[in-house]
Structures are given as C-alpha cells and as structure tokens.
Amino acid sequence: MLQSLLSPDFFNAILRATTPILFAALASSVASKSGITNMALEGIMLFSALFGVIFSAMTGNFAVGLLLTMVAGALIGLLLAFFVLNLKTDEILAAIAINLMATGGTVLLMLAVSGDRGSSTSIASVSAPKIVIPLIDRIPFLGQILSGQNLMTYLSLLAVIVMHVFLYKMPLGLKIRAVGENKNAAESVGISARKIQYIALILSGVLASMGGYFLSGGYMNMFTKDMSAGKGYIALAASAMGGDTPVGAFLVSLLFGAAQALANMMQLTDIPHELIQMVPYLTTLVGLGIYSYAGLKRRQKLAGK
C-alpha cells in the first residue's frame, strides 16, 4: 500500500482526479470573485458530461465536441445569469433548479438519444487524447507523472494560469473583482455590474463544462446517470478554501484530488467499497471545517480576544 502511494502512478492518478474538481473550482472562483455563488456547477458538469458524449459522437471529433460542450456550458451559465441578475431569483434556489433539471434532463436526453437510462455505452463517443510530452516523459518519476495525461488535464493546469492573469492583469478581471467586492462602486463609474456578472457566470459555465466534459471523455469514456456525484459541490468548497483565487483553488483541488485518488486506490484493498466512497466527501467536510475554524480564530484574534 505504502509503496503504491509513493509510486508515480499514484501521483499521476492525483492529477487525473484533480482535473474535474479543478475546472469546477476555477469556475466557482470566477463567479465568486464577481460576487455570486455558483452552486449550479454540479448541474452544468452533469449536463456537459452528457453533451460531451453526444457532441463528440455526432461530430466524430473530440475537439469539436469539446467546443460545442463549452458553448452549451456558456448557455447554461447565461440562463443562470438571466434568472439571478435579471429576474432576481435567489442564486442558491436558481442553482438548485438547474441542478434538478440536469438530473432529470440528462436521463431524458440520454433515453431519447440512446434508448438507455443508465449509461451511454451505446453511443460511440470520442474521448480527448492522452498526450505524451517529448523529453519530459524521459525524466524518471516526474516524467511518469507529468507526461501521458489526458489533454483536459493539461488544459486545466493551463486554465489556472490563464485565469490568474485574467483576473489580476486584465481590465475585465479588475472589473470582475471590483464588482464582487463593491458592486455600487463599480456601478458608480459606469461599469454595468450586471454585464460583468453575466460575463463571469458565462465564463464560469464554460469552465464547469470543461470539467464535465472530462468526466465522460477522459476520466471515463461514457456518461452514467448522476456521474458528477457532488464534484461540483466539492469544487465550491475548494474554491472557498482557496480564497476564490485560481492558485488557491488549484492547491485545494489537488488536496481533494488526492483524496479521490486515494479512494480509487483503496478499492483494491479489502476495505468495504461503501466506506471508501465516503473518503472524498469526508475529506472535503473536514477540510472545510479546519479552514473555517482557522478563519474564525484569525478574526477573533484581530478583535483582541
């Protein structure tokens, strides 16, 4: 067991397990920075996991499939934005509504497309390829971790950098942060907070959809009912614990990814499968507790007690 924990395969698996959470955590952080909690991540991921399968099968091309899935993710983000920003629907309830529609809608759609209610095995989808990075793959140990990952995993790492630059070096990022921190201030200089939050939620939808796409086109090679299994919610916690910054979200996602990878590996042991399934959620719960407690203590200390 210990030996397999130190093997490059395990670290490789961590990165793999981190990917969907990371995409969703980045999605959550950009929404949070604009002042909105995007709990609909879960539903967007679930929808996108199915869309990924359908679109890539339809076009026979993973890249086009991914692109179409991202467009669909953007549209769901837009829908959420419309209700939250224009119709003033409570953002949590709107998200619950979207997640409900995802649970039902994916089954409905899958049944319509494949005639199966449980999984999409009958659809010939195309997954994103694994990429071997020349030279790096020769490095012992490290090469086995960093090379040979799914394309989406590399994209997720790239997304961390892109999102960091976007939020902290670009005008739109500045506006998003301003709107999230003091909406009235941003509006007073003519920034349309609504427009900015629209953009943030659409972007959030796109990022979440990439995470969803990976679930059925990388992590697995098919769609199964309810396959997001709370990853969107875990990502919410990851983003919050990472201070809603891309780099912070990345670090916490790695931790949760490690928990998932560990759970996957424990499947090979005698520990009951049901208990192993609890590991990612338990890790998130404990992590959230510790993080919140530290914040609470810090605030109390500042107040002088």
């Binding site: 709990m39 209700f83 224009n86 119709l87 003033k88 629907t89 409570d90 949590i92 309830l93 709107a94 619950i96 509504a97 979207i98 997640n99 409900l100 529609m101 649970t103 039902g104 809608g105 089954v107 409905l108 759609l109 049944l111 319509a112 209610r117 309810d226 299994a229 709370g230 919610y233 875990i234 919410l236 916690a237 919050a240 009951p272 049901e274 208990l275 399934q277 609890m278 959620y281 338990l282 998130t284 719960l285 959230l288 507790g289 510790i290 993080y291 919140s292 407690y293 914040g295 609470l296």
Partner: protein, 355 residues
C-alpha cells in the same frame, strides 16, 4: 389581501402554468406520441381509485421534507441535508423493524421515533459545524448527504442484507407496517401523521416563542441578535427540528405499505423536492399539503405516462426546476407589479389632496 400578496398568488399560478407549457413542448420534442403522453400525464391520476391513491401516498414524504425545509429556511439556515436525513430515517426505521422484534403497534412508533432522532442528529451536524467553526451549512450539508448515502448502503450491505435478493434488506415484519386507512389503496396512517406535522409546523413557526425567534433571525439576523435572541440556539434548533421531521418522513415512508424492504441505494431526491414544496408554500408549513398535492399529482401522472408511453418520469424534474426558477424570480412580471403599486400610490396621493 393587499395588492402585493394578490399579485404574488397570481404570479405563482402563472409560473406553474408556464412550467407545464414548457414541459409539454419538451414532450413534443422527445416523444413520438406527445398528445397521448400529455393526456396521460394530466388525466392519468384521476383514471382509477388506485391512481388517486398513489397521488395521496406520494404526498406523504413531500409534506414531511417540505415542512422540515420550511422551518430551516424560515430561520435562513440553508441546510440541504433533508435529503440525507430522510435517507437515514428510512434506514433506522428498517433496522428497528428488523432487529428489535417489537410487537405490532409499538414497532412502528419506536421505529419512527428513532428515525426522527437519527434525522435530528444528522441534520444538526452542519449546524454544529457552523457554530463551532463557522463553516457554511450549505456546503457541509451537501457533503454529508453523500456520507449518509454511503453509510446507509454500508449498513444495509453488512447488517441488513438479504443475500437472496442482492442489495436489499430482509423483508420487514408485518408488525412494523403502517396500517392503510382507505381500503383499496395504499393510503396509510403516515398521511395523518404528515398532516399533523404540517399543522404543528405552522403552529411552531407562527404561534410559539421559538418559532418567532426563528423567523426573526431568518429575516434579519443582526436585528434578532440586537433584540437579545440567542442566534446559536436558533441555528441549532431550526436545523434539529428540520432534521426530526426529515428523519420521521424517511421512517414513515419506509414503513408504509409501498416498501417491503429497505432497498435505497441511491438518494431519492425528496430533499430537493422539499425545496419546491417550501417555495410554493411560501415557507408556511400549513400550505405544504397543497404544494405536495400538486407535485404528487404531477409525479403520479408522469409515472403513469412513463408506463404507457415513451416519455420518461424525469420530465417532472425539469418542470420542477422551471417552477422554482419562476416562482422565486422576484422580477418576473415585476413591470406589472410596479404599475399596479404605482397606480395605488397615485390614487392614495389624490385621496390625500382631496382630504
């Protein structure tokens, strides 16, 4: 009733109507026999006594979880652990029924009480975490739902499983089953309990000291604190009471004639349904039976439709989603509302000038 309230009612009915229309449009897209499907959906539940019975049975868990959520949401505790609490309640009731061997009469009472206790403890976890660490109950409650699912499945597989059927418990003894109250249907004593819970929930929220504290905290926490209300107590009690009701609901559902074994290996979604019940009931438990009737009717209609046509049951979740989106949308039809209120204000302005 003032114009604002009248308007809210109108908007709710209008929202439900739109949601149904959109669902029908979807049915037209996915079905080869859309007209049959929609007719079955609408009229199916009325076709037989049995079907009508199904509607009423389906109301029971919805009233329970809906009332629980009304109470938690009234205190502005966005705890979504009703789902897990309900699940755990079902498991505990099954375990009590199977393992304690109590006589008829006592068995369901003990099972439901312990299910309620389990639900209470479970739903209080996010509350305790919030109080002790400041972790938001929203995220922690989402996490523990999955813990509940896998813990229950674990206990099912390792303690209650009937090896001859796979992932289900041994058959529940007849002593534990809730009696039916209307012959020819499965409508059971749990319905009465659900109605009592809804009424008690209303009395609790609107007529008791603690209920008043809950609502005050829910509307404005700093006002409640300033008034001398113990917020920690409100956070704890609201989620605990919500949990009691959720757990009780799970127990009642499992002991109803609908189930003969504990076989829940995935979350049933009653916790999420509770959100729409609470939304339609405007956080007033007294209205949860009405909201539950609506949703149960829709559900039953959909499952009949799924049986006889090519449209699946899950269409209801889409309808539900749209209803939540529209009913909670403050600005939906707000132009109309504004015109209505502006008209009233202008009229009273004129009155003032005359006087």
């Amino acid at each position: 009733m003032n114009s604002a309230k009248r308007f809210d009612m109108f908007r709710m009915f209008f929202s439900v109507l739109i949601a149904l229309l959109i669902s029908f449009v979807i049915i037209f897209f996915v079905s080869k026999e859309p007209v049959t499907a929609i007719t079955t959906l609408i009229t199916g539940p009325l076709k037989s006594k049995r079907n009508m019975g199904n509607v009423v049975e389906a109301m029971v868990p919805l009233i329970f979880t809906g009332t629980g959520v009304c109470i938690m949401f009234s205190a502005n505790q966005i705890n979504l652990a009703t789902e897990g609490g309900f699940h755990l309640g079902g498991l505990v009731a099954a375990a009590v029924a199977l393992k304690l061997g109590l006589p008829a009469g006592l068995s369901p009472i003990a099972a439901i009480c312990l299910a309620a206790l389990a639900g209470a403890i479970f739903c209080t976890i996010p509350a305790v975490m919030k109080i002790k660490t400041g972790a938001p109950e929203l995220v922690s409650s989402l996490m523990i739902n999955y813990l509940s699912l896998w813990l229950c499945t674990f206990i099912l597989m390792y303690a209650l499983q009937d090896p001859s059927v796979g992932s289900a418990s041994y058959k529940l003894p007849a002593e534990s089953e809730l009696p039916t109250i209307i012959k020819g249907t499965n409508i059971h004593a749990g319905l009465l309990l659900a109605l009592i819970v809804a009424v008690l929930g209303y009395v609790f929220l609107f007529k008791t000291r603690t209920g008043y504290e809950l609502r005050l905290t829910g509307e404005n926490e700093s006002f409640a604190r300033y008034s001398g209300i113990n917020i920690v107590k409100v956070v704890l009690i609201s989620q605990m009471v919500g949990g009691v009701i959720a757990g009780m609901g799970g127990g009642v559902e499992l002991l109803s004639p609908i189930y003969s074994r504990f076989s829940w290996t995935s979350l049933l979604g009653y916790g999420w349904d509770a959100i729409i019940i609470c939304t339609l009931a405007k956080k007033n438990p007294l209205y949860t039976p009405l909201a539950a009737l609506f949703l149960a009717y829709l559900r039953t209609g959909a499952s009949i439709m799924a049986r006889y046509t090519d449209v699946t049951l899950e269409i209801v979740q889409i309808t539900q989603g749209i209803i939540i989106l529209l009913v909670v949308a403050e600005q939906f039809l707000s132009g109309m509302k504004h015109r209505m209120i502006a008209k009233e204000a202008k009229a009273s302005l004129k009155e003032g000038e005359v006087a």
